[in-house]
Amino acid sequence: MTRGRQRLEPTFANLLLIVLEGAWSIVVGLSVTFINFWRKKVTDRYPHRDPNRNWQPRPGYRGDFALITDKETGKLRCIACQQCQKICPDQCILVVPEGKGKERHPTEFYIDAGLCMYCWLCVEVCPADAITMTPDYETATDNPRKLIRDLDYLRGGVVKASG
């Protein structure tokens, strides 16, 4: 059976060649490392932020959720149509509506951030442009119950505890 490329026979001359070549490879490899030694640093010391290099996600980043408040009326834009609840592939949204017609609004609005896969489908489907995702990515907690966002949180009234 043909075996393609063969390994070198372990004769003395070949072994010497390998050792010399290996030594030269190390010199060449270290020269690459040396070049990179002087290149610009790309890492951040997270969470100890360097104020000169304050990294932020790009605009449009899909992070934590928020419901948008209408500036003129001061009320939530949400019309409780439950479209987001229907399209969510993970079924992590629960909207409890109240009222009819123009008065329709949510009394309860839950999003389980632990289930969510941040796919943006709810934002796309919303007819009132009421739900969105913020660039806030630091949502880790020690308690899964804290991941369930309720109406107060989504309104942006909750000030996040740091750490």
Partner: protein
């Protein structure tokens, strides 16, 4: 010393994995070894099974799209591409020219990103850790571009049926062109650091031989089959979208060993840079989205769409029964088929070579188990 004078040895069965760091996930290999020689390898898969195909059956066509990202997570854009191609085939939709260009660009960028992970992890496996750091630095630049486009760094959910989530941001092409300017010189650096390194070559040359006949009979595709001297690339063999208009070479190496597969991937990155440069130059203006109904209900029928993923032929088989949900979805996962050739490659190999061979197949366990 001839074989007759050697001491009689006994075969030993040992487990490699499921937590072995070189298996890139949770893969269990049951080895039968004779001393340091491998006699038999039996891969046990399924530890990462997530019923990706069954999930599709109770979700609508749009809802399944974010799941397509999650199945081969290093090639999320490529999976989305295969899935939307399949659904659009069922619906009889042709995406706009600009959309086709952007989709091809995303797939090629993701190919580079995936090959960079391969480079890094392979270097890590065979003991060259600095390559890993450099590769991930370059990948970071690509992920930043993906983030600017889609809002996520890994599981993008950027393609939509009939178009895209949004058009490219204004500064995207400049950012990409900047990356393409310096990236080929970085590939040369990996070449000096890793590929031309005598120690690395000693680990890779002549190990894990796969003959072209075996490769074809196991259904091996992608860089693995091109490393065995078979010129087979879906981008050429069953060209989709704008690939016929683009100039690129399909690298083929005939040696069939781990080094050949490695060289194919290294050359593929250069070709992807070429493709991306042409795309940036030719990118047409215009609409990106085709109008599709809000409720997608394809006519009953079946379809198969395939794309060239970084690991090989990625196919999506869809059956529609005329409702909003697919009746059946099947992924033709390239890693799964490539993995089947692994016991053949490992025949008579040293235990130490197995890690290098496994690295040279470039498996993604989520892709194997689905």
């Amino acid at each position: 010393m001839t074989t007759e004078t050697r001491t009689r040895t006994e075969e030993l069965t040992i487990n490699m994995g499921p937590q072995h760091p070189s298996t890139h996930g949770v893969l269990r290999l049951v080895l039968t070894v004779d001393g340091e020689r491998v006699v038999e390898v039996v891969p046990h898969i399924g530890y990462l099974h997530s019923s990706m195909e069954k999930i599709a059956e109770h979700l609508t066509y749009q809802q399944y799209l974010p799941y397509a990202d999650r199945y081969d997570y290093l090639n999320a854009m490529g999976n989305e591409l295969a899935y939307v191609m399949a659904v659009e085939k069922l619906l009889g939709i042709q995406p706009t020219p600009r959309c086709q260009y952007i989709r091809v660009m995303m797939a090629e960028m993701n190919r580079i990103a995936s090959h960079l992970v391969y480079f890094g992890t392979l270097g890590n496996d065979v003991g060259a850790i600095s390559v890993f750091l450099y590769c991930f630095r370059e990948r970071e630049a690509l992920l930043d571009l993906f983030e600017a486009v889609s809002g996520q760094r890994m599981l993008y959910h950027y393609f939509r049926i009939g178009g895209l989530r949004n058009d490219l941001p204004d500064d995207f092409c400049d950012g990409l062109a900047q990356f393409l300017d310096y990236f080929p010189s970085r590939i040369d650096e990996y070449d000096r650091l890793l590929t031309k390194n005598r120690i690395f070559r000693s680990r890779m040359e002549g190990v894990g031989y796969l003959s072209p006949e075996d490769a074809l009979s196991f259904g091996v595709t992608g860089p693995c089959v091109r490393g065995s001297g078979v010129d087979y690339d879906i981008r050429r063999a069953d060209a989709y979208y704008i690939y016929p208009q683009l100039e690129f070479d399909v690298p083929v190496f005939a040696e069939g060993d781990a080094m050949a597969r490695h060289l194919v991937r290294q050359e593929e990155m250069r070709q992807s840079v070429r493709i991306l440069q042409q795309c940036v130059e030719k990118l047409p203006r215009g609409e990106v989205n085709v109008k599709v109904p809000r409720r997608i209900k394809p006519d009953p029928g079946e379809t198969y769409a395939r794309v060239e993923s970084p690991r090989g032929e990625l196919g999506c088989y869809l059956i529609s029964d005329g409702t909003e949900k697919p009746y059946r979805l099947h992924w033709r996962a390239p890693s799964f088929h490539n993995m089947q050739a692994y016991p053949v490659m490992c025949k008579d190999a040293w235990i130490a070579d197995m890690v290098a061979i496994l690295g040279s197949i470039d498996i993604v366990l989520a892709d194997i188990d689905r």
